[in-house]
Each structure stands twice: as structure tokens, then as C-alpha cells.
């Protein structure tokens, strides 16, 4: 691929690798843990690390926050970081909270219906429902519900 593992290269990419590790921690919680609330928290961790990845791309060395002086007298020598990723991530944070709220509302509804928020228990209950339905309607539907 034509790159050298110099110290500059490693330091310049460490941020991406760190955020990848955080992302994977979030993904692991979502995939491996059975509790639905914990899954949502894992999803949030994943989300936040994606935000950090984007924001770190907009950073310019020696740059400052993209806010001009109040009198709008802009000094051309001042370096500003890229404001575009900030805008995109602002939108993404708010949308992320909206989806979190929706997910948590779904969890409350699941708790009401199944009386548990553990994925394993929910699967067990659903299998039991399918079996009883098979026992009742099985013959009429050719042995399969």
C-alpha cells in the first residue's frame, strides 16, 4: 500500500485506531449482551465514537474553533478547524437521542408484554407460544403454524 510505519505515521493515525477500538467495544456490547437496556447503551457508545472519528477529521493542526471575532474583522493568518463535520455531528447527536428515546420506549412496551427485558427469556417465551399454537392449530395447517 506504500506507507511507512514511522513515528509520525503512527501518531497521526492513533486517533483513528483508538476510535475503532471504542466502536468495537460498543458493537461487542450490542452483539454479546442479552439485556436490552445494555444494548441501547452499547449502541450509544458506538455512535459517540463515530462522532469522535468525524470531529477528529475536521481538526487542523494549530487551528482554533471556527468562531470569528465579534466585529467580524477576520485575521487571515488565523487557522480555523473545518466547521462542516461539526454541523453534521450536531445533527447526528440530536437524531441519535431521538432514536435512543424510541428504542427505550420499545423496551418499556416489551417489558409490559413479556415481563422481562432479557433477550434469552423473550426468545424462550416466543418459542413456547409457537409450540402451543402448533398444538392447537397444527392439524388444520398441515402440521406447521
Amino acid at each position: 500500500m506504500g506507507f511507512e510505519l514511522t513515528q509520525e505515521y503512527i501518531l497521526g493515525h492513533l486517533n483513528y485506531w483508538l476510535f475503532s477500538v471504542l466502536m468495537m467495544t460498543g458493537l461487542y456490547i450490542v452483539v454479546a449482551k442479552g439485556n436490552l437496556v445494555k444494548k441501547i447503551v452499547g449502541l450509544n457508545i458506538f455512535q459517540t465514537s463515530v462522532f469522535m472519528l468525524y470531529i477528529s477529521m475536521g481538526k487542523v493542526t494549530d487551528g482554533t474553533a471556527p468562531i470569528f471575532p465579534l466585529d467580524m474583522d477576520v485575521d487571515p493568518d488565523v487557522i480555523y478547524s473545518n466547521p462542516l463535520p461539526h454541523v453534521l455531528i450536531l445533527t447526528a447527536i440530536v437524531v441519535g437521542v431521538a432514536t435512543t428515546a424510541l428504542g427505550l420506549a420499545l423496551i418499556v412496551r416489551i417489558q409490559e408484554e413479556f415481563n422481562t427485558i432479557e433477550e434469552d427469556d423473550i426468545l424462550k417465551i416466543e418459542r413456547a407460544i409457537v409450540q402451543t399454537e402448533n398444538a392447537i392449530h397444527g392439524d388444520a395447517m398441515g402440521g406447521r403454524a
Binding site: 445494555k38 470531529i55 468562531i67 453534521l88 447527536i93 435512543t100
Partner: protein, 176 residues
């Protein structure tokens, strides 16, 4: 610090502690955003991520259970998936420009245009605000649509809660 908090979330069983740790995680990431020059994002993350999200999770815990049951599933397959995905992601970053490089592709196109033009086109000191509300106003309109839809969804899912509970109690008292 962020990695430690995330790993603590993996290990913890008490959901209450997990809710608090996710708040800590959001606050730490807000600090990181400040050092990366994204002050607006840091405000939002601190208010929304550490504030509203934590309150929402705590509200859910009040309506459901407070502890996680230990799962019997083996962690081997998830670990495998996670490592393969992580390796693919890190392989993808190998071509990326160095951190903070002013020659990065992200710094080459519309970003500098916004910085130069918004001085005389919008005349607001905060460039993030002028992009959010003016240049990319339609994005923000779409965002409000998403939030509105999510709000309706939450209301629909939860509105029946109290009514159904009352019906159940009435049924029981009639049977007695």
C-alpha cells in the same frame, strides 16, 4: 479514560451503574470535542448525551428491572465478529491522512469556502451556526422531522401504558 469507561460498561451488571457510566462517557467525549475545536458539538453532547440520555435510561429502569441477568451464550462468536470488523476498520484507516493535516481531502473542498464566504454572506461570527441554519438549512429541517417522528412514536408506544394498567386493575376487582 474513554476506553476504560467503555470496558467498565461491558463488565457491569447493575444497570443503574451502567446508566451513570454512559453519562460519564458522554461527558468525557464532550471534553474531547472541546480539545478538537468543536465547542458547539461539545455543548450538545454534554447537554443531550450526558443529560437527556441518562434521564431517559433512568426512566426506563424505573419502569423495568434494575439488574442484568448473566447470559449463558458463549462470547466466542461475538468476539470473532468484533475482531474481524475492527481489523477491517483499522485496515481502512491506513490510507487516511495524518491527524490534523491541513492537506487532508476533508479540508480541501467546501469547508474553506464556508469559512471564507460566510463572513460577507451571512455575517454571523459562529460559522457552525451559519452553516447549520443557512447553507444546510434543509438538513436541519429534515432533522426536526426525524425528531418529530420519533416523538410521535414514543407517545404512541407509551400512551396506552397507564390506561392498560387501569383496565387490568378493574378486571381483577370485578373477578373478586
Amino acid at each position: 479514560m474513554l476506553v476504560l469507561t467503555a470496558i467498565a460498561v461491558v463488565r457491569m451488571r447493575s444497570l443503574f451503574a451502567i446508566a451513570m457510566l454512559s453519562g460519564v462517557f458522554s461527558l468525557l467525549s464532550a471534553l474531547l470535542f472541546v480539545t478538537l475545536d468543536a465547542v458547539d458539538v461539545a455543548f450538545t453532547e454534554a447537554a443531550v448525551g450526558a443529560g437527556i440520555s441518562t434521564v431517559l435510561v433512568l426512566g426506563t429502569l424505573a419502569l423495568t428491572s434494575r439488574f442484568e441477568k448473566p447470559t449463558k451464550r458463549s462470547p466466542v462468536l461475538p468476539l470473532f465478529v468484533v475482531f474481524v470488523t475492527g481489523a477491517a476498520l483499522i485496515y481502512g484507516t491506513l490510507d487516511m491522512p495524518n491527524f490534523g493535516s491541513p492537506e487532508a481531502p476533508a479540508q480541501m473542498h467546501v469547508g474553506p469556502d464556508y469559512l471564507e464566504d460566510s463572513v460577507h454572506e451571512i455575517n454571523i461570527p459562529n460559522v457552525v451556526t451559519s452553516i447549520l441554519a443557512s447553507y444546510r438549512g434543509y438538513d436541519t429541517l429534515g432533522e426536526t422531522a426525524v425528531v418529530f417522528t420519533a416523538g410521535i412514536g414514543v407517545l404512541l408506544l407509551l400512551s396506552g401504558l397507564r390506561r392498560r394498567r387501569r383496565d387490568d386493575e378493574e378486571d381483577e376487582s370485578e373477578e373478586v
